[in-house]
């Protein structure tokens, strides 16, 4: 094997694998530190997430959210942008969905209402990303800082809207009324039941197909369209992009709109699929989780599907740990997210010098 081939194997496969393993080992150390046997914990976690129908349903349901936010972060990464605003874009996207699902004519067919509600999520998510994008492109403010600020603005906005506008008269809790029935995405167990198969009830709903659809769409868009090429080119080298006639400012705005729109889809799973109403903090943690998923999945839709499934396992398995063990709660998943972001992101190159020295040394030429 040539040295170049070996290097690409190291960068493409070995490094990410080692990084993920390190994050797992570090989580194991945290378990030991709090007096929990990591192997025992892993068994409980895996059984809880994959061992039975209902658990698997929950795992896939959580994974669906992570696919949306993971794709959102990844698309922005390809243009060299770091979108920390997924949390806020998902939140406001939920408002877009709710406005359609609450106020549209209930006599309309689900075939019209559901796509409209999904478009509402896409549109509002994109809207929440377009201002930071515009400011980065045309006013020179940094997208990371502005998207952080927009997360806080989103939560202020949503509290205001839920408390003062969407809350039903006489209700105490800040949540909207029920969505109209035709906007509900059917549960997978109901679909199976209608074909005569009985599977356990879980929140898993048709959103998972939407997630798969958008994963394929993002793959096609990034690697098989003109715009996708332009985005990746601008992400690799701004100057080269300019020379080849690409307008990087436009790229920033378009990419962030797509990124925000994808994050805006969290609501279709959480709201249209499961809760059928808008409520506070339904998005909690998925935006930041998306960063971990994108980093772990190397910003490729297939990688993201795998990473999202893994985080689904952790979320659902974490709930099981919470239930089974006294010393640990599902917040261990948050620790794990942090470790994944640290080792797959910040410390991405930790093992590179060692791996290169052993597997692809520069040969001394005589």
């Amino acid at each position: 094997m040539t040295r170049d081939r070996r290097l690409s194997w190291i960068n493409g496969l070995l490094l990410p694998l080692f990084n993920v393993l390190t994050a797992f080992i570090a989580t194991g150390i945290v378990f030991l530190f709090i007096g929990v046997d990591p192997i025992e914990a892993t068994k409980i976690l895996l059984y809880g997430a994959l061992g039975y129908d209902e658990g698997l349903g929950y795992t896939l349901y959580y994974a669906t959210n992570f696919v949306f936010t993971g794709l959102a972060v990844a698309v922005a990464f390809h243009a060299g942008l770091f979108n920390i605003g997924g949390e806020g874009q998902a939140y406001v996207g939920g408002l877009g969905i709710a406005l359609v699902a609450l106020y549209i004519n209930p006599a309309m067919s689900a075939w019209i209402v559901i796509p409209l509600a999904i478009s509402g999520g896409l549109l509002f998510g994109a809207l929440w990303a377009i201002i930071p994008a515009y400011l980065q492109a045309y006013r020179g403010s940094h997208i990371v800082i502005t998207t952080i600020m927009f997360n806080f603005l989103a939560s202020a906005l949503m509290v205001y809207v839920l408390v003062n506008i969407l809350r039903e008269v006489g209700e105490m809790s800040p949540e909207s009324g029920d969505f109209i029935k035709v906007s509900w995405l059917p549960f997978v167990h109901d679909i199976f039941a209608s074909f005569g198969y009985k599977i356990a009830r879980s929140p898993l709903n048709l959103s998972i197909l939407v997630a798969l659809f958008f994963s394929a769409a993002v793959w096609f868009f990034l690697w098989h369209t003109r715009w996708g090429f332009a985005i990746r080119a601008a992400g690799k080298s701004n100057e080269a992009a300019i020379y080849s006639g690409i307008n990087p400012k436009k790229i920033i705005v378009v990419t962030m709109c797509i990124s925000g729109a994808l994050a805006g889809l969290v609501g279709i799973n959480e709201l249209m699929g499961v809760q059928h109403r808008l409520f506070l903090n339904f998005n909690y943690g998925y935006g930041f989780g998306g960063i971990a998923v994108a980093l772990m999945g190397r910003n490729h839709p297939i990688g993201i599907l795998i990473a999202a499934f893994l985080f689904g396992i952790l979320y659902q398995g974490g709930a099981e740990l919470d239930f089974e063990l006294q010393n640990v709660s599902r917040d261990i998943v948050v620790v794990m997210q942090g470790l994944v972001i640290l080792f797959c992101g910040g410390l991405e190159y930790l093992y590179r010098p060692v791996l290169i020295r052993f597997l692809a040394p520069i040969k001394e030429s005589k």
């Binding site: 800082i145 600020m149 709660s329 917040d331 972001i341 992101g345 910040g346």
Partner: protein, 324 residues
């Protein structure tokens, strides 16, 4: 004495208390960013320190030991940030995000493991926390109208960390603008290559800056859980680290301006609490959320260059790669 005056003084007093962790975190960020390392992880360091300080203060019965433990914990996180972003030249923003999430998860896991309670530490009793200090002369000045109230409510009666926060700002200014280290620090944030050429260690300077930041954030976090409150509670920093980051930008990386921004943002928070449900004649009720959001809106507008211009240190967010 008019009620309005007393209310105004009390609101300012509340602003002072809210302001303290912002000052420590913003000064921490100032060192990091002046050295060319973007520090998104202020929030996580505050949170971690708040938790560790409250735990240590409760276990050892001393707020001072709590403070030291808090500073240590926050510095460890700062060094992880340094290890990733300085030594391994990773993305500074990514490792900052990692620190925030890690702190959020670890504090929850450890409260449960150590104290059998999810997200809180035991309440600190009596002198396990920093108590307020009554400055001398309160009784004498109290009789003077206006000044008496200001002295009693606003200036006296805070705990030692509050005074430390306000005292540290001129010290930061002096270090950054009047010492050799400060000059090197600013140089490494603007032009690391020049610093390297002069035979100084870019990495060493950046590590020092992050360590100072870690210690400062540690004090801010300890203040939250052992002075302002008497225990750690889940996510008690509530975005304070990000407000500090906003103040840092709003104050254009200059200690005094940053202090002013911290105070402005703290005042807005204090005002939001006071204005809750109050109907102002002619305007009606101002939504609390709008006041809460104001620091972020102001920072966005400033960053966009609509009111002045905030230009960060030139080399910020770029790892320094030595030419061989």
């Amino acid at each position: 004495m008019s009620d309005f005056f007393l209310t105004a003084v009390l609101t300012l007093d509340a602003s002072v208390r809210v302001c303290v962790p912002l000052i420590f975190a913003a000064m921490a960020g100032l060192f990091a960013e002046r050295s060319g390392v973007v520090d998104i992880g202020l929030e996580g360091k505050l949170l971690m320190s708040a938790f560790v300080a409250a735990s240590a203060a409760s276990v050892f019965g001393s707020p001072w030991l709590g403070l030291i433990a808090g500073m240590f914990a926050s510095s460890v996180l700062a060094m992880i940030h340094g290890f990733a972003s300085i030594t391994y030249k990773g993305n500074q923003i990514v490792s900052g995000v990692a620190i925030n999430i890690l702190a959020s998860g670890l504090t929850m896991i450890l409260t449960l493991a150590w104290f059998k309670r999810g997200g809180i530490t035991p309440t600190l009793q009596g002198d396990e926390r920093f108590l307020s200090i009554t400055l001398p002369g309160v009784d004498i000045i109290d009789h003077i109208p206006f000044l008496g109230v200001i002295y009693r409510e606003l200036i006296s009666g805070h705990n030692i960390l509050v005074y430390l926060a306000f005292a540290i700002v001129p010290v930061v200014w002096w270090v950054v603008f009047r010492t050799r280290f400060g000059l090197q620090l600013r140089a490494v944030g603007e032009n690391p290559k020049a610093v390297d050429t002069a035979g100084l260690s870019v990495e060493g300077l950046r590590y020092k800056a992050l360590l100072i930041g870690g210690i400062l954030c540690g004090i801010g976090g300890a203040y939250l859980s052992t002075a302002y409150n008497a225990q750690f509670t889940k996510e008690m920093t509530a975005g304070g680290g990000f407000i500090a980051l906003a103040a840092l930008i709003f104050g254009k990386w200059h200690p005094y301006r940053v202090l002013a921004a911290c105070f402005l943002f703290a005042f807005l928070q204090a005002l939001a609490i006071r204005l809750q449900g109050v109907i102002i004649p002619g305007i009606g009720e101002i939504p609390v959320q709008l006041i809460d959001a104001t620091p972020y809106i102001l920072t966005i507008i400033l960053l966009a260059g609509f009111i002045g211009k905030a230009v960060p240190p030139k080399a910020s967010a770029q790892p320094y790669i030595k030419e061989l």
